[in-house]
Amino acid sequence: MNNSYHLNYLEQLESESIHIFREVAAQFEKPALLFSGGKDSITLVHLARKAFAPGKIPFPLVHIDTGHNFPEALDFRDALVNQLGATLVVRKVQDTIRQRNLTEPKGKFPSRNWLQTYTLLDTIEEFGFDCCIGGARRDEEKARAKERIFSVRDEFGQWNPKLQRPELWNIYNGKIHKGENVRVFPISNWTELDIWNYIRRENIDLPSIYFAHERKVIQHEGQLVAISEFVQPDEQDIVMTKKVRYRTVGDMTCTAAVESTAETLEEVINEIIATRISERGETRIDDKVTEAAMEDRKKNGYF
């Protein structure tokens, strides 16, 4: 067979993701794309743009804003939305905390990760979203490894691993009862390295914090955490200026930086290939709490 009729692995993954996006747009009345400003959701937006061109992305981008953002990620988000002509919905965890009288986690690195679920569920209800598209990947974490691409959640947003629908061939069953919603993960089958290779291949812009830059940091259990208005050093902390980049972009309070000199995409990819530590292991402070942290959060309505 002629070799020109051959898709490499990135093209195959892209085709699968585009297929999923089109199924979402056709099967649901009110889908939304959950956008965090990180590389995975930026890749999602890129794929969505390709899926619906020359039309616009037929659903809004929704940012569940913890208020603990990297300013670079917010600037990037606004510029991207502007360029796409997309609709952006921002709902703030801070408002949910106030309205629902929630208790904020205390401590030096107060993660609002858990509280995000409340804001997300309120937002789903406010807009009547029947489908939320997320950038979760199955290689990230073992609870994610078992989740379907179309993941049905009950009215509390809960994932029930024992009641998942069989997902056969490339046929996606998005039928739900009123009040339920579906979380759809178009890049389920991508790994971290696939995302980076695709970003390079497609020349996708990223927020600057993904590349090496100087930052004031403190060390916490072997991880580097940036000083910011949300994280203040104690007396025993040693504040250092280090050249770092971020491997994931989450909250400033629970995302660790890695020491790096990689200033270009090429250099970042080389570092990722060489690293022997997983993405979540290296950069997420909140996943280490218990071995089943992600499983618990998912069961309670998290992404």
Partner: protein, 413 residues
């Protein structure tokens, strides 16, 4: 670099999890923190070794009960290929889980314990592989260390399994003697199995030919979504977005829209908003047509000189996947890729014994994990090929409208 999706079939006792753990570990796809977590959970093992099987353990509920609930997907890559493993549990609900995992696989690894040889479970897994027409089969004869790496033991298993494969019509079978626990013939060639002249497992997985698995001769395209920007210069734009299921599409091709049966010409082929020369399977595309035809989601656009079947009465194999039994005469929704039609299961002719492949009469309702031959009538005609000819265009699911569950896998005859 291309992509291979495969499924591993076997139970914990066959060393399936150890095999997967070994593949990930020896190909250096396990990272330090994952290994640390692993060592933490195996610290109380007496011999101090790391239990690779734990690498594939998923949820807390599973660890507590020592069982696997569902299909888990694992990823690893070598410089030559990216691999996606569907890791399906071998015991309870094995049919349902295995079909889920196998539906997208182009290769299956069937594990056989060298001490036990071909057992009932081997036959079951092989029957599902043959029903789903998985293109490549690897028979991994594991635990060779426990039979003193005996060539005779291996050869006898090969002879036995060849008998099963002949009966089922399975082709492209490769036999590999191994010990997943010790790493023999997984990534590196085993020195302890010197009589084996073939490739170790990973090398085989890296080299198995996949290009011929894609059908480029029968053009099939189903509309997923109609793109109508209705703005400015794109005011009259109408593009049919979908995935090329098989074949190649070019501008100027004479095509027929089905089930309407209207002929027209492809006016343009687009990908990601840009006009392209041609598109081929499994690419996504947007087709524009020369004539204004009423087309909606689920309609097919095929080449006029190569038509699929169109019918509202289908002979099918049904794999029942729901706890609620099938009631003959019940109405379901049939989803054929993006096409959704109402359907009735009219008649169930016989049941296939998944241990012997023999036809048996059906007594009462069709239950979970049973495979039956049935006739389905659809409210509007379906456009399809047989599963045997073109699996992606000959497969569908049944959805129970009251529970919204996916209740059956449908393989069209």
């Amino acid at each position: 670099m291309d992509l291979l999706r495969f499924i591993t079939a076997g139970s914990v006792d066959d060393g399936k999890s150890t095999l997967i753990g070994r593949l990930l570990y020896d190909s250096k796809n396990i990272l330090i923190d994952q290994l640390e977590a692993l060592e933490k959970s195996t610290r109380n093992r007496s011999d101090g070794s790391v239990d690779l099987a734990l690498l594939t353990d998923g949820l807390r509920a599973e660890r507590e009960q020592g069982i696997t609930i569902d299909v888990a997907y694992r990823y690893f890559n070598t410089p030559r290929r990216k691999f996606i493993i569907a890791d399906a549990p071998g015991h309870v609900q094995y049919t349902r889980n295995m079909i889920t995992g196998a539906s997208n696989a182009s290769l299956i690894i069937i594990l056989i314990d060298a001490r036990l040889g071909v057992v009932e479970q081997t036959r079951r897994h092989s029957i599902i592989a043959s029903l789903l027409r998985i293109k490549h089969v690897v028979v991994a004869v594991n635990k060779m260390d426990l039979v003193e790496f005996s060539q005779d033991v291996f050869n006898n298993i090969v002879i036995d399994y060849n008998g099963v494969a002949a009966q089922l019509g399975l082709k492209n079978i490769t036999y590999i003697p191994m010990s997943a626990l010790d790493g023999d013939n997984i990534v590196d060639k085993s020195r302890r199995i010197s009589w084996y002249t073939g490739k170790p497992l990973l090398e085989f997985l890296e080299e198995v030919q996949l290009d011929e698995d894609v059908n480029l001769t029968d053009p099939r395209f189903q509309v997923q979504f109609v793109i109508r920007p209705q703005t400015g210069e794109l005011h009259d734009y109408r593009g049919y977005a979908g995935k090329v299921i098989s074949g190649i599409y070019k501008k100027g091709d004479r095509v027929t829209v089905l089930p309407q049966g209207i002929e027209t010409t492809i006016a343009s082929v687009e990908s990601a908003g840009k006009e392209v020369e041609e598109v081929f399977a499994p690419q996504g595309a947007v087709l524009q047509l020369a004539d204004d035809i009423d087309i909606s989601r689920g309609d097919s656009i095929v080449k006029s000189d190569n038509l699929p079947q169109v019918s509202n009465e289908l002979e099918v194999l049904l794999c029942w996947l729901d706890d609620k039994p099938l009631m003959t005469g019940n109405k379901y929704l049939l989803q054929h890729n993006s096409r959704l039609v109402r359907a009735i299961v009219k008649q169930v002719e016989y049941k296939i014994d998944v241990n012997t492949l023999q036809q048996q009469p059906v007594e009462g309702n069709v239950k979970l994990n049973e495979v039956v031959k049935a006739t389905i009538k659809t409210a509007t005609p379906l456009v399809y090929d047989s599963y045997e000819k073109l699996s992606e265009y000959g497969s569908a699911i049944l959805v129970d409208e009251t529970s919204n569950s996916t209740v059956a896998a449908v393989l069209i005859k």
